[in-house]
Symmetry: C2
Subunit: 508 residues, 2 copies
């Protein structure tokens, strides 16, 4: 029988063949994913410069494609950092090329989404993508690009330079794609709504194919501290990484090597660790052999006294901004927010933020309304597989006198330098024990506070009822007693009423 | 503020950074994934030659790594096709290089798993992989390899050639990796058990780190027809594919182009389609411009009269083999199997096979025991996200007088040239409407048959009871009547009993 034949395919080709794993499963889902990926790149580009994002998205009808699908043109404009011209072709036309391969929090993590959207547009409509960008300098650059999928290289079809008279800064991307907007619409609108919730400092405008305008105006211009790039934490290290560090290091002894390449390792920690691992502090890291590198990795994981990662590489929303965002979109009767301290899984720092809202615009259903976010991205698919859903389901709610049929919304935001997504499509977060524990703790905290509110509300309600009875009958009794005693002046009932009141008058 | 810096990473580097998406999430899961990927490559290699697979897997303890993990050596030997020596280094040391990028059914679909296992071994233990292989010719080749992850290239550390005196054919792969076998054990044993169930023609041997031997002996040497490589079906075509075909085609007119490159397009279909699409049959495909290619793609999808794909590129198990496999492992009281006709989603052919087993070794639980398989691979994780689980949960079981607390096992096997996995880790199948429908239809069919069995069983049971009563009292009545009538001979009751019997004696 014939022998197997072997061949090599490019990264572009791999994702072209397996676009399901990036979420591009069908015409409805694909149009959602395309919009989301481009918008998230825009948000990252503005935030990196600490500019409140202004993002304009237009989806317009171009032609009928098949009985169920249409060709649309997607245009996204932002006021972000802009892209230097020499990077533009590869940034949009080469898979596994990008600015996201850094140890800091970003919406994009795979450096794949924007390109996959463009690639999807190309394979469904065979039209080029137009990219216009300026970093705010003298010139604006425009490119007309396609992707050579088999070679994973951009093809530059046209390139224009114009003078940037108004010092415009930002990026405009425009391409066509096949999709099913009618079916995707609810998710897309929900996506914008939830994005507005956790990015309350952003202006988002969406014009849909029918010309309907959806506008989400920022509630604040305060922005969270942007994340800083960080070094790897000793607990998250593997042999490959050590190998790479040994190759590039300029340090000539192990003490400096540890201090210079690892997060939160200072002089004393380095000395103590080297003693623990029986490594000579003056040893040259370049001289480490295979076995020594493996042992170093194992010892880094075993050593108990490394400091936990600090959160400077993270950019959580903060309790104030989260409160503002949720209040703006849900307008609840009661709202509690809670931010956990930074924690870590496999050496990656992460922070859980949680909000619990009651009443207002929240509908009563058979279950809680759950909003899931990761690095300020709303997660809208596969809820039941997500760690937050599992924690919420496993919770003993009766303890908190809370039941799922109350009008309660739970907002979970997990931010990390590396969100443990289960799929490239960023639908849900995997069930890491450390993440699970933090989500559960945050949930207990907000549940406790909601319980206080509900208990207090019940007391106030009872009290109102009790006072109501007093204030109904006391005057009558007083009147009757006065008449009975043959007196003229009815005694002061207000004093009496106040004496039985349990809460301040302003609360009743 | 600083501008973003851009960089390119290799495919190897991408998967190294994002190994979660290939299922390598933690030390327990990773050891499971590593074994599974290597075993599946071995099964594919034997089946491609239509040789009943003989696979020997040994996992041995090497050293303690961290408090929770150990270093293991994994060795897998097979009697498969063997790999020609020039392909060996890249087949094990280069991501996105392989023999799986074909339009036919195979266990491997991403051409990624085996390499990811080797890569994982390297980054956790920094040891090379040893590969020995022969295609049965005069020589046996041995390689000692590592992966240059940053460049995505194999590094050949050593290469040996020996004479193949005994005409051995197969592949041996051996590498070390860090893992947590104790925690992974139940899943690994379950994996072998279920693999044996849908590969009843395979011998599987597993020796675990404690030296325990698990042996699964083949129940048959009959093998299903191996899948044939096929051409793309017109309904599954996109612009990129058309573009590639136009580039490589040797046909100079559209009629030949369609007949020569598409699955189930013959002379008449080609003519009719070209008429439908208003394309001149003698047009040279190389002369198609962008717009014409896009229109061609859209028309291919619109045209209703293409024949459905045939199943020659698929290799389902078949009802006999499925029955043998399930009977062997579950030994049920009742077993029904059903194979659906080939169907198609997005131009990819697929077949659903289903078995329903009752009683025997199947435990009574609160829910059905579900075995999920895709291209003869057991799927053991994320059951609740799988299309089969959803269909089974949504079914109205009361209609079939079946309840989830009965000892019932449901076996679902989906085979396809392209199984719509949701993750590279091949944990579950996404919810495509066409797949869902086929699973539901197969389920209804086996449920109906089980219902007949259960109803019949109930009748038989009732009948037994009824006959029991008759045979208890009839002799007494006969005796009494005989005495009363003053006769000597008691009448023949057996005749009477038979006359009220509803089912044959052999059944009661």
């Amino acid at each position: 029988m014939a022998q197997a034949t072997f061949e090599e395919i490019s990264a572009s080709d791999f994702f072209y063949r397996n676009r399901d794993i990036a979420g591009l499963t069908n015409p409805s889902r694909s149009i959602f994913v395309a919009i989301r990926e481009v918008v998230e790149n825009s948000l990252d580009a503005a935030e990196s410069q600490r500019i409140p994002p202004d993002i304009y998205v237009r989806l317009s009808f171009e032609a009928e494609a098949t009985p169920d699908t249409q060709i649309y043109k997607l245009r996204v404009e932002d006021n972000g950092s802009g892209i230097p011209p020499r990077f533009i072709p590869s940034a949009f036309g080469q898979v596994l090329y990008g600015s996201k391969y850094k140890l800091k929090q970003a919406r994009g993590t795979f450096g794949l989404g924007g390109k996959m959207a463009v690639l999807y547009g190309q394979i469904t409509t065979h039209q080029p993508v137009f990219v216009t960008s300026s970093t705010g300098q003298e010139k604006i650059y425009s490119f007309k690009l396609m992707i050579d999928i088999q070679r994973n290289k951009p093809i530059i079809l046209d390139r224009k330079v114009i003078i940037n008279k108004e010092n415009w800064r930002g990026t405009i991307i425009e391409f066509t794609l096949e999709g099913d907007y009618l079916r995707a619409m609810p998710k897309i609108i929900e996506y914008f709504k939830q994005t507005a919730m956790v990015n309350p400092y952003a202006n988002l405008t969406f014009v849909d194919p029918k010309g309907r305008l959806y506008k989400f105006i920022r509630a604040t211009t305060t922005m969270p501290e942007p994340p800083k790039e960080t070094m790897p934490h000793p607990y998250g290290v593997d042999v490959e990484l050590l190998q790479r560090l040994v190759q590039i290091t300029e340090y000539s002894n192990m003490a400096d090597f540890l201090k210079g390449h690892f997060h939160r390792v200072g002089e004393i920690t380095a000395q103590k660790f080297l003693e623990f691992a029986s490594i000579n502090p003056s040893k040259n890291p370049k001289k480490l052999n295979h076995e020594e590198i493996v042992r170093l990795m194992q010892n880094l994981k075993k050593y108990k006294d490394f400091l936990p990662p600090d959160a400077s590489c993270l950019s959580p929303l903060g309790e104030e901004l989260l409160k503002a965002g949720v209040a703006k979109e849900l307008n609840p009767e009661y709202l509690v927010v809670h931010q956990r301290k930074p924690s870590t899984y496999a050496g990656h720092p992460f922070i859980v933020e949680m909000a619990m809202a009651y009443g207002g615009n929240i509908p009563k259903r058979n279950n809680f309304v759950i909003y899931r976010f990761a690095n300020k991205i709303p997660l809208l698919y596969d809820e039941a597989s997500d760690v937050s859903y599992r924690v919420i389901s496993a919770m003993n709610w009766r303890r908190y006198k809370v039941s799922p049929d109350m009008p309660i919304a739970i907002v979970v935001h997990i931010c990390s330098t590396k969100v443990p997504y289960k799929t490239v499509g960023k639908e849900f977060i995997s069930d890491r024990p450390e993440v699970r524990r933090e989500v559960a703790n945050a949930l207990r905290e907000v549940a406790r506070q909601l319980q206080h509110f509900l208990t207090r509300q019940e007391h106030v309600h009872m009290e109102k009822k009790r006072l109501g009875i007093f204030s109904k009958y006391l005057p009558k009794i007083a009147q009757f007693s006065t008449t009975l005693a043959g007196k003229d002046r009815v005694p002061d009932i207000d004093k009496l009423l106040k004496s039985v009141q349990k809460y301040g008058a302003e609360e009743s």
